[in-house]
């Protein structure tokens, strides 16, 4: 019985002046977003939200996490994701829900006790829904950031073709295990794709080589060998060389060269390319 009453109270609150209410709601949100979303788009979003909310409350859902609110949450998920992708702030996302509270306030002034009661109840639901939008927003941002990190990792590890049959990968910066893994996989794939038999791994730009990075390097070189290709490691700077020796890492019969240029010369020689200085050309 009490539940029945509270439902009708909530529905009454939302339905009274439904049209005017929706218009004001749109106007408030539009103001907060500064015209960065078209009015037509906002009208569509908020109308859908409004009818879903009304429907949910009619069905007896009086809690943001209730089963009956699932349609509302789905719409809010959609809305929060699109706000996050378009670069809106968390406040600019939650305002879509919170503005509805503001719009309902004036009705309270001449309101009876039951009306105030209904408002407070709805207000609690809307607060929870607003928090829900912020959570969804945050998840989306996190996804975007980790996707960007992945892209950056791909971007920062280019495998370049230096010559017919010779590819190279210049390693730069701090090599963590994930990045080394990506580079090494790309290198092996590039050997296949380009049909190359010579690969150069240049570590001039690498800050430190620890046992894990060394292990990734060694494994790649062995894998490349199994594929019939040869790897040369170039650009081992003095401080890195000394550290590798102190660590006790054995590079065994792996070919190393001081510079990328030296490594390229070796690779060309091995693939049967002869470099001849032209006669009579002054340098």
């Amino acid at each position: 019985m009490a539940k029945q009453e509270s439902v009708s109270g909530l529905v009454g609150l939302l339905e009274a002046d439904g049209e005017a209410l929706a218009d004001e709601w749109v106007a408030l949100v539009a103001g907060a977003l500064g015209g960065r979303i078209s009015r037509a788009e906002l009208v569509r979003e908020l109308r859908e939200l409004y009818s879903a909310l009304l429907e949910a409350i009619r069905s007896g859902a009086d809690d943001a996490h209730a089963e009956g609110m699932s349609e509302v949450r789905a719409l809010l998920t959609e809305l929060s994701r699109s706000r996050a992708r378009q670069g809106f702030t968390p406040s600019e996302t939650a305002v879509s829900v919170l503005a509805l509270k503001r719009v309902l306030e004036p009705g309270l002034r001449e309101g009876a006790a039951e009306k105030t009661q209904a408002y407070l109840q709805l207000s609690r639901v809307l607060d929870d829904l607003a928090l829900f939008t912020i959570e969804t927003y945050t998840h989306t941002r996190e996804d975007i950031i980790s996707a960007q990190a992945d892209q950056l990792m791909e971007l920062s590890t280019p495998v370049v073709k230096l010559w017919d049959g010779v590819i190279a990968v210049p390693l730069v910066g701090t090599l963590d295990s994930a990045r080394t893994q990506v580079v090494m996989e790309k290198l092996l794939q590039a050997l296949v794709d380009t049909g190359s038999e010579q690969a150069i791994i240049d570590i001039t730009g690498v800050a430190a080589v620890d046992t894990q990075v060394a292990q990734h390097l060694l494994k790649t070189i062995v894998a490349a060998r199994l594929m019939g290709a040869e790897c040369t490691v170039s650009g081992i700077r003095p401080q890195i060389a000394q550290t590798i020796v102190a660590l006790g890492i054995e590079f065994g019969d792996i070919v190393t060269k001081a510079t990328l240029a030296d490594a390229l010369q070796l690779a060309l020689m091995k693939s049967g390319v002869e470099l001849v200085a032209q006669q009579g050309l002054q340098r």
């Binding site: 963590d176 620890d210 894990q212 000394q242 550290t243 660590l247 006790g248 890492i249």
Partner: protein
């Protein structure tokens, strides 16, 4: 109980959690900053950073996560850099074995602990099965 490193009065020491791969990268970056501040040569900087990288990874992988405390140290007027890796993991039952070149209980090269000892000036391993592991390293500026 291990004696703490002789933290320098002027350099604020920092504490970082080591739980994820990112934390290992961060530990290495902290080691680099401090190694530069303590005026280590480029070779010694690289050695200290690499040792820190090894120990941070051990803390994460074998210690199940832990903590790094690092900062500048001073003894008899000499400046250096210290890092303490602390975990409450399973500890190391056979220290001699763990310190043997090439021995690993996992899939590594087995050169992290023994190699790190060769890379620094002072290396202190304090461990007990069931209690955890603390490794302290110091590198002094020349």
């Amino acid at each position: 109980m291990t004696t703490p490193p002789p933290w320098a009065a002027e350099g604020g020491q920092q504490t970082h959690a080591i739980a994820k791969n990112d934390d290992v990268v961060r530990a290495r970056q902290l080691a680099r900053t401090l190694a530069q501040e303590s005026k280590l040569s480029l070779v010694d900087q690289t050695k200290f950073i690499t040792a820190a990288s090894e120990l941070a990874r051990n803390t994460m992988v074998y210690g199940g996560g832990g903590e790094l405390r690092a900062g500048l140290v001073r003894r008899n007027g000499r400046l250096g850099v210290a890092a303490v890796f602390d975990d409450t993991g399973p500890g190391i039952a056979d220290v001699d074995l763990a310190m043997t070149d090439g021995w690993t209980s996992g899939l590594g090269l087995g050169l992290g602990l023994s190699g790190a000892r060769r890379l620094v000036d002072e290396f202190l391993l304090d461990t007990e099965p069931g209690r955890g592991t603390t490794v302290t390293i110091i590198k002094w500026a020349r």
